[in-house]
């Protein structure tokens, strides 16, 4: 498969090639100007530190970059109907989901009443046949699961769809567009559809962490923990920066749920050793796991 950088000018036409030669522009050369996203970020003051100095140093002397930023602003192509429809779909899907949640929230008020009724039934039941009741409870108990997975340290939170600027860099737009569309069911909380949409994408782009990450998380929500651990392991291997920690955290959760505490501990150790948003939780999780281990040994 061609590397991303080799895709440059894959659609070059003969007359263009002729003109480029006349202009002395080598075909397939390396751009010396910073990409547009960095230029715009620089002009809007969104850059800091070395990056700001680096881009600023170039822009100060490069007339081509100055003209590009000026002209890009002057083009002013308004929000298209299609773009508006896509934004609307994302925002309003979440909005209606929230409202439905609000509508159902009143059910919580019924809990005390339901609890009282259940207690009454149980009391009568126990009175009628204690032995029988105990046998029934045992048969309906959930399958044994790692205790640690139920601990508050390991609460499963849905990671929001976080964008990453490099995703939209040159050559990645096709992946970004496919990903953004495949994430619609994920955002709407339909994890079974999310798995179906993300799985082919993760196969097509095995070097891209995002599709694998959201696939793994969706699989956790679908209680398919073994598959989740596999997806998240692959995601961790290719992810960089904060996404890598995120992949590892959810990998640890998947491993715990899948009944692989030793693997989970190894994953948590990596997180606990490196600075990052999951460091504290990972260290706390490790402690909890080891105390569980000691408890089971001394038992």
């Amino acid at each position: 498969m061609a590397k991303e950088t080799d895709l440059r000018w894959s659609d070059l036409e003969p007359e263009e090639e002729t003109l480029l030669k006349e202009l002395g522009v080598p075909i397939g050369g390396r751009p010396v100007c910073p990409p547009l996203d960095l230029l715009q970020a620089f002009h809007s003051g969104a850059l800091s530190g070395a990056l700001r100095r680096h881009i600023g140093g170039h822009v100060e002397h490069c007339r081509v970059c100055q003209i590009l930023s000026r002209d890009f602003a002057a083009m002013d192509v308004p929000l298209t109907k299609e773009e508006d429809a896509r934004i609307r779909a994302r925002v309003f899907k979440a909005h209606s989901g929230r409202q439905q949640l609000r509508r159902w929230q009143f059910l919580w008020l019924l809990i005390p009443a339901v609890a009282a009724a259940v207690l009454a039934v149980i009391a009568i039941w126990m009175h009628v046949g204690r032995q029988n009741h105990a046998r029934q409870l045992a048969s309906s108990a959930p399958p044994p699961q790692s205790l640690a997975a139920g601990s508050p340290v390991f609460t499963l939170e849905k990671p929001p769809v976080a964008l990453s600027v490099p995703l939209l860099m040159r050559g990645r737009q096709a992946y970004a567009a496919a990903l953004s569309s495949a994430l619609e069911p994920y955002e709407a909380g339909d994890y079974s559809s999310a798995v179906k949409r993300l799985d082919p994408l993760a196969r097509k782009y095995p070097q891209r962490a995002e599709a694998l990450f959201y696939l793994g998380v969706s699989e956790i929500f679908e209680a398919n923990y073994g598959a989740a651990a596999e997806s998240l392991k692959r995601a961790s291997a290719v992810a960089r920066g904060s996404l890598a920690s995120e992949c590892r955290w959810y990998l640890a959760l998947a491993e715990l749920h899948a009944g692989q505490p030793a693997n989970a501990a190894a994953t948590l150790e990596i997180l606990c050793e490196a600075a990052g948003v999951y460091q504290k939780r990972a260290c706390a999780g490790l402690k909890e796991l080891s105390s569980k281990n000691k408890a089971s040994f001394s038992r």
């Binding site: 950088t5 440059r8 000018w9 894959s10 659609d11 003109l19 006349e22 202009l23 002395g24 522009v25 080598p26 397939g28 050369g29 390396r30 751009p31 010396v32 100007c33 990409p35 547009l36 996203d37 960095l38 715009q40 970020a41 809007s44 969104a46 850059l47 800091s48 070395a50 990056l51 680096h54 007339r63 081509v64 003209i67 590009l68 002209d71 890009f72 083009m75 002013d76 192509v77 308004p78 929000l79 298209t80 773009e83 508006d84 896509r86 934004i87 994302r90 925002v91 309003f92 979440a94 909005h95 929230r98 964008l163 600027v165 040159r170 050559g171 737009q173 567009a177 920066g241 904060s242």
Partner: protein, 156 residues
Amino acid sequence: MWDFDNIYRAHVDSVFRYALSLVGSRSLAEDLTSEAFLALLRHRDKIDEARLPAWLFTVVKNRVVDHHRRRTTEQQYADRSKSDQDKPAFPAFDAGLLEHKSLKPVHRVCLTLRYVHGMTRLEIAETTGLSETQVKGHLQYALEILRKVLVKDSSG
């Protein structure tokens, strides 16, 4: 009372334009705009409508700043071209050519994105919000102009 639909319609265009000015990519601006409105939904109880759209702009900007802050110069910029460092660098595209009086901003943007940044027509379309056919048309027109300038220069 909150009328979210009204609020969305009143501000979506300006939030999108603002996001676009920050990131120079329409698909990314689309994501940022969605995220800003989703954040507004999450915090609706705490936000006074009078603070809009400034609050939405702040959400957008913070995300962009945050993203760039997390990455170093090396990751952001140098890494992008590391894989083709063995290839020759473009000579700076002649800015004088770009400033020809027959070229409009849209032509210059298409020319620069294609011949300085090396984008395909599809990528230019995605970046600018033009259709691929429009991009092709603008590039053809701009190339005609450049060709004329070149012929004139070599003959004069």
